[in-house]
Amino acid sequence: MIEAIRDAMDVAMGRDEKVVVFGEDVGFFGGVFRCTQGLQQKYGASRCFDTPINELGIVGAAIGMAAYGLRPCVEIQFADYMYPGYDQIVSEAARLRHRSAGDFTCPMVIRMPTGGGIFGGETHSQSPEALFTHVAGLMTVVPSNPYDAKGLLISAIESPDPIIFLEPKRLYNGPFDGHHDRPITPWSKHDLGETPEGHYTIPLGQAAVRREGSAVTVITYGSMVYVALAAAEETGVDAEVIDLRTLVPLDLDTIVASVKKTGRCLVLHEATLTSGFGAEIAALVQENCFFNLEAPIVRVAGWDTPYPHAQEWAYYPGPARVGAALRELMETR
């Protein structure tokens, strides 16, 4: 998936000289996760460069560049480091078009590795997507595989709006079903690990059905897609698994069609439960599918605690928890 993300930036930079890439360690070294490796050598230091350790500065400078007419695609080294730049994202990038009545716009992408499962402790494991989905003017994207990552990132870079692009870092090297004690499947052995060469896009705002099923709809995104698939296989529950891909704008039609078909709904994310994006999904399902529901909507999410280090697997909503929730949901009459 790292290669797909790098390839997306490479394609975008090759097609449009207004695309610039910068952040902490992204220039000469190519990023701590290697997502920008080789871009400085290929496009020069004025198009791909290192910045001071200052997320406020990275985002703030990118806003000024976007207003000038460039298309910055910046990296925040971990989503956990985003908070110093949050005011710039919320009060500035998100609102510039609206408050200036379109006089100034902010076409930019802020990439951030997100999520846990890498023994990163509380400062390298958070999933802050709900802090962005709550903000008018932002779009929030969470890819779950290399094919989508490349197509969605190219769409994001070409978008006229500011985009938060959250990359589940546990997926960088392969799909992760949540069984931390089992060997990982590399992307090279996965259908969606293949990315076409050159330019292609996946439209923002379109979900994908990863597994068709008739008993229950699991609505999820990012690394939890594979946990949901594993739980469905392991429990034998015929779940339909929806990968949202884009949280805002949300593909409500796909969600509603599926829940109306199955009559049951489980919402799954790694982020903390309370006020998480799952609450929004649950509310929308209730508003749109109430008379089709055969059981209350269930949420499975990270506990409402800081992300622990040693107890990572007790925190992570893995296939055992999701499987138990699926069984319970199927037993509810």
Binding site: V20, S46, R47, T51, P52, N54, L56, G57, G60, A61, A62, I63, G64, M65, A67, Y68, G69, L70, P84, D87, Q88, S91, E92, L96, R97, H98, R99, S100, A101, G102, D103, F104, T105, A136, G137, M139, S159, P160, D161, G205, V248, P249, L250, L252
Partner: protein, 408 residues
Amino acid sequence: MTGSLRFHVPEPASRPGGAPDFSNVVIPEAGSVDRPAVDVDPKDIRDHAFSIIRVLDRDGQAVGPWTPPLGAEELVQGLRHMMTLRAFDARMQMAQRQGKTSFYMQHTGEEAVSCAVRVALSPGDMNFPTYRQAGLLIADGYPLVDMMCQIYSNERDPLKGRQLPIMYSSKAHGFFSISGNLTTQFIQAVGWAMASAINGDDKIAVAWVGDGATAESDFHAALVFASTYKAPVVLNVVNNQWAISTFQGIARGGAGTFAARGLGFGIPALRVDGNDYLAVYSVAQWAIERARRNLGPTLVEYVTYRAGAHSSSDDPSAYRPKAESEGWPLGDPVVRLKDHLIAIGAWSAERHVQAETEITAEVIAAQKEAERFGTLHAGGKPSARDIFEDVYAEPPPHLRRQRQQIGV
């Protein structure tokens, strides 16, 4: 406790009931500060961060190396810009008191700063202003009617009723959309300047902040980025002594001056008499030339005084002596330029009165025109539909649904 530590909270020299005291503001003689070449090594002009560059002396004469090459006609034009801003402020402050808008912010005493800097800039350069630089628009010929329609949030408001009064935006006039969150735009200006350099352009950016808001992290981020990338940007700090009720010593702390903040970043820093139109123009022009010649950023501190209230919601008599503005040692920028023009025979008391009458009539005419399109609570208003436009380039489905819910 019996320990020896004592907590320190700085206090201004004088509070209500006391006499104005500016003995701590050391004012050098006009003409006494040297004017270095723009490619000077910042190390060689460190003293400039602690002095005050002044051109107009007490007799209204322009003296010394910073005297700018401005002709009488350009100076009369500058005087008219400042007088227009002052008349505009008076009318809009009154309109706020009459309930025609919710909020207003005056520039009284600070007119020279924005009016003179604008004249030193070129078309295509971009200001990232705060809420007290409307002189940038007025000195660039932006229509007063459009400014007033924005203040009234009426049906002709260029910003469609979305923004707080006076938070103008005009790309065509090099005036970036104002944010009500302080200092956020200081780093954005640096980013804009970096983009101009990346693009091989010749446009420069101008960042603006007040003394109080330099304490924000954004200010420090801006100085780091400007310094690292030698961005073509002028970093302006308007020190008007007061951040609402908080005197500038709270933000300044132990540093000698705000200009001195630049020194640790290797950014040349100048301090200038902000009430001296000629000095402001000259220093801005120096910094702009440096930026345009790819020599990097300059930090400029404009030493001025906020003679009026912070905003229409503020009453300064609650926190500073009533007569403090009369004790301000750098005088009134309008009076000082007027006296200079009279001293050089380019102006007279009669012409000044006549100009005041003309400008007031012009502002009143603009106000009448603007009010034809409504005021905040009366007449034409922006549509409720405008709430939903421009959130994104195209409204996504959830916004279309919400717009339908309110029936627009």
